[in-house]
């Protein structure tokens, strides 16, 4: 599942447009991204806050099995790396 700082209505548009088979959760207060250390103050052009893009794999016990965050805006993990981490769970 995904987390975004956008309101549910914006996320619904994304889910519908791309026919996603997972949910996008709305973290409008930014509390969750702060809890995960992914808060980016004044990220957007208008100075709005956003999240640092990241992936977290959590096992059934709640332990973080794998994590990857972006160092630059354009960075995203290689899908092959993510898949390998999921397979290793």
């Amino acid at each position: 599942m995904a987390v975004s700082v956008d309101p549910p209505s914006d996320s619904k548009r994304v889910v519908d447009k791309h026919k996603l088979n997972f949910s996008i959760l709305a973290d409008e207060t930014h509390q969750v991204i702060r809890d995960y250390g992914l808060y980016h103050a004044g990220a957007s052009h208008e100075g709005k806050d956003a999240a640092v893009p990241a992936h977290v794999l959590i096992d059934r016990t709640g332990r973080i099995a794998w994590r990857k965050r972006s160092d630059k805006i354009q960075d995203r993990p290689d899908p092959a790396d993510v898949k390998a981490a999921i397979d290793g769970l």
Binding site: K12, A26, Y36, G37, Y39, V56, L57
Partner: protein
């Protein structure tokens, strides 16, 4: 073999074109994680265009060639600044030091509350944090 006439200026526009082609190539290769993160294909093209332009500028006194070669260098400088400096994201050691995933309950895109602990009861969770502001 005769030398290229020194008065021709059109090759400098080719050099500029090569530099400018870097960005469309980057966009075309966006789905490739390596190209997207390193920018190497784009910078390879831009550096080629810049070096070619500088070589041409060094070989002619024509002002136009030198100006365009300068613009070429400026474009590369701008791209380096944007790609490596402006694009930086803040580093928070908290993310790296987490051992267990902080629990939360958030509304999904149709307003239904979803809790991490509830989802973990069904199996491992792959949590993706999007930047936001689509």
């Amino acid at each position: 073999m005769s030398e290229l006439p020194r008065t021709r200026s059109w090759p400098i526009w080719i050099a500029l074109l090569i530099t400018l082609s870097g960005l469309p190539v980057y966009m075309a290769l966006m789905d490739n994680a390596w190209s997207r993160s390193t920018g190497i294909p784009m910078f390879a093209l831009m550096v080629t265009g810049v070096v070619a332009g500088l070589v041409m500028a060094a070989r002619t006194p024509r002002r136009l060639v030198r100006v365009v070669a300068g613009v070429n260098v400026a474009l590369l400088g701008l791209m380096l600044y944007g790609f490596f400096y402006m694009a930086r994201l803040p580093a928070d050691p908290a993310f790296a030091s987490l051992t267990t995933a902080p629990d939360f309950t958030l509304p999904d895109e149709v307003g239904h509350p979803v809790s991490l602990s509830g989802e973990l009861a069904k199996g491992p969770v792959h949590l993706v944090f999007y930047r936001g502001h689509w």
